[in-house]
């Protein structure tokens, strides 16, 4: 046992430091174990690897649309008519919630490629089939909560906060696109 109170205090300080650092170490250990347990819920390597899809557009007539699957989600491809292209290009951006020009969204003006998932709460909008309701702006219409999208997939009316997402894709040839 220490003789004077000063060295006693010193010793107690050392003692407390040792004990606190031990428990702190144990805490750090426990916390770092949490990461693998959380990260295992992120997409696995095989899921990430399936991230691209090729689509042949040669049989897609003007005015027609097809839906393909990419990453488990529908992707809309529509062959737009000259009239639709004109409408999409001429509209004023001022009145839009999420202003983007048609050129920014569509590299090849004939074909528009969109992730077919409403940006509101994830429903698939109508407008791909010829008989579908296409909404007030002629593009797509989400029946869940009434979002209207135009010929460029931009949100024009309804609760959705942003335009329909454009996936990353490129034209491998005139008629084949690779999504992802």
């Amino acid at each position: 046992m220490p003789k004077n109170s000063k060295s006693k205090n010193n010793n107690e300080g050392k003692r407390d430091f040792l004990i606190i650092s031990t428990y702190a170490m144990a805490g750090i250990g426990a916390a770092s174990v949490a990461w693998p347990l959380i990260d295992q819920m992120n997409p696995a390597a095989d899921t990430l690897a399936l991230a691209s899809t090729e689509v042949d557009l040669s049989s897609l007539e003007e005015g027609q649309a097809i839906t393909v699957t990419w990453r488990g989600k529908p992707v809309f491809v529509r062959h737009r008519t000259p009239e639709e292209i004109k409408l999409a290009k001429e509209v004023s951006l001022d009145e839009m919630r999420h202003p983007e020009t048609d050129e920014e969204r569509v590299p090849n003006e004939k074909f528009i490629v969109l992730v077919g998932v409403c940006t509101h709460l994830g429903c698939v909008p109508l407008g791909q089939k010829s008989g579908d309701v296409k909404g007030q702006y002629g593009g797509w219409f989400c029946p869940c909560h009434g979002s209207h999208y135009d010929h460029s997939g931009r949100i024009r009316k309804g609760p959705a906060p942003t335009n329909l997402e454009v996936p990353s894709y490129k034209f491998l040839s005139d008629n084949i696109i690779k999504i992802g």
Binding site: P36, Q40, A44, A45, D46, T47
Partner: protein, 416 residues
């Protein structure tokens, strides 16, 4: 205790209405624990830690596992190859089962050596044996899930044990399988039960703890606690000791997981199940080997099964087989010798369970099995009549700690 125990107003408010904090303070903090416990008393908390580890990793694995004969094997390999950190989680779960059994077996042998099963802790012991049984069922069904060759043939052999039951045996096996062989239905129900049984174990563990805290831990000299001079509060004395024990345990565990993950497994389980071909040598996981040896030692189907289950059943009545009032082997010279013989007998049975059932191995298995039952059924009841026990100390604190002031550890702690 006074109401001012908690300073935090939120804790105080809750505790007044729902006294969980008082409960934890009482059971985990102040809980008086004999001060002479040795390191063998670490294995109870280690077993608890192992159980929690198995449940957490198990839940996570089940998020990535597919219980179908066509996909189970591949889904496990997907966990190993593609799921983020999947190999780590799966190897922890796989080796965790082995380490859980190592810890629990040491825990059980500690109870046997120090007479922890004796009055008034009989129910504590019985609940413990129940936990062991549930663990075995859970481990067995878990081993089936990767759907490798050993999974499949282990499931086939163990479920066939029930066919030994007269008259209804075959129907019971068909019922267990949900078909005419181990197949998809079997795999699905095993997955379901493997998921749910650990929570049943948690329930029994809670009862085990309630029973433990009724009279407190036994201790190496096996005499009752006489007062506060014999005990220390659980925290910080045993929290830090358990943390140290846990660190040592984790060091061995991590060495296995990271450097020898398949050491305790069997290579054949990396071959997908094939109902047409039985591997040349099928053995259960190492923790079942002693029981497997007993099964094979008896040259009769029903007899083997009865002896095997009897080997566990006998543990349930242990408190009534050993009538000696002295708990700890330290004061029972003959009991102590036989304890070590029993220990070696169990090791020998484990070894024999892994050997082919032929020649000398069969004879040795029979001798070892006979000794196992002799030990519990004949030696235990007889020993008190022939054994002269050593004199017991008066209390825990005096002889063990060489006398001195009875200043309680509680007082030491309050001063801080």
């Amino acid at each position: 205790m006074s109401k001012s125990k908690f300073k935090n107003p939120v804790v105080k408010w809750i505790d007044h209405r729902l006294p969980v904090f008082s409960f934890m303070d009482h059971e985990l903090n102040h809980y008086p624990t004999p001060k002479n416990l040795n390191y063998f008393w670490n294995f109870g908390s280690l077993a608890g830690f192992a159980l929690v580890t198995m449940i957490i990793t198990g839940i996570v694995l089940s998020m990535n596992y597919t219980a179908h004969v066509d996909y189970a094997f591949d889904s496990v390999e997907r966990i190993m190859r593609d799921v983020n950190h999947g190999w780590l989680i799966r190897y922890i779960h796989m080796n965790g089962a082995s380490f859980f059994f190592i810890v629990v077996y040491i825990h059980i042998f500690r109870g046997l050596y120090y007479g922890s099963y004796k009055a008034p802790r009989e129910l504590l012991w019985i609940l413990g044996v129940l936990i062991l049984l549930l663990m075995m069922a859970t481990a067995f069904m878990g081993y089936v899930l990767p759907w490798g060759q050993m999974s499949f043939w282990g499931a086939t052999v163990i479920t066939n044990l029930f066919s030994a039951i007269p008259l209804v045996g075959e129907s019971i096996v068909t019922w267990l399988w949900g078909g005419f062989s181990v197949d998809n239905s079997t795999l699905n129900r095993f997955f379901s039960l493997h998921f749910v049984l650990p929570f049943v174990i948690v329930g029994v563990v809670i009862l085990h703890l309630v029973a433990l805290h009724r009279f407190g831990s036994n201790n190496p000299i096996g005499i009752d606690v006489r007062g506060t001079q014999d005990t220390v509060p659980f925290s910080p004395y045993y929290t830090i000791k358990d943390l140290f024990g846990l660190s040592v345990f984790l060091s061995f565990f991590a060495a296995a997981v990271f450097f020898f993950p398949n050491f305790m497994g069997h290579p054949d389980n990396y071959i997908e199940a094939n109902p047409m071909v039985t591997p040349a040598h099928i053995v259960p996981e190492w923790y079942f080997l002693p029981f497997y040896a007993i099964l094979r030692a008896v040259p009769d189907k029903l007899g083997g099964v009865l002896f095997m289950f009897g080997a566990i059943a006998v543990l349930f009545i242990l408190p009534w087989l050993d009538r000696s009032p002295v708990r700890s082997s330290q004061f029972r010279p003959i009991f102590k010798i036989f304890f070590w013989i029993l220990f070696l007998d169990c090791i020998l049975l484990g070894y024999l369970g892994a050997m082919p059932a032929e020649g000398i191995y069969v004879i040795l298995s029979r001798i070892a099995t006979a000794y196992y039952f002799f030990h519990f059924l004949i030696l235990f009841p007889l020993l008190p009549y022939i054994e002269k026990t050593k004199p017991l100390p008066i209390s825990i604190s005096e002889p063990v700690l060489g006398g001195g002031s009875p200043a309680s550890a509680f007082a030491m702690r309050e001063k801080k």
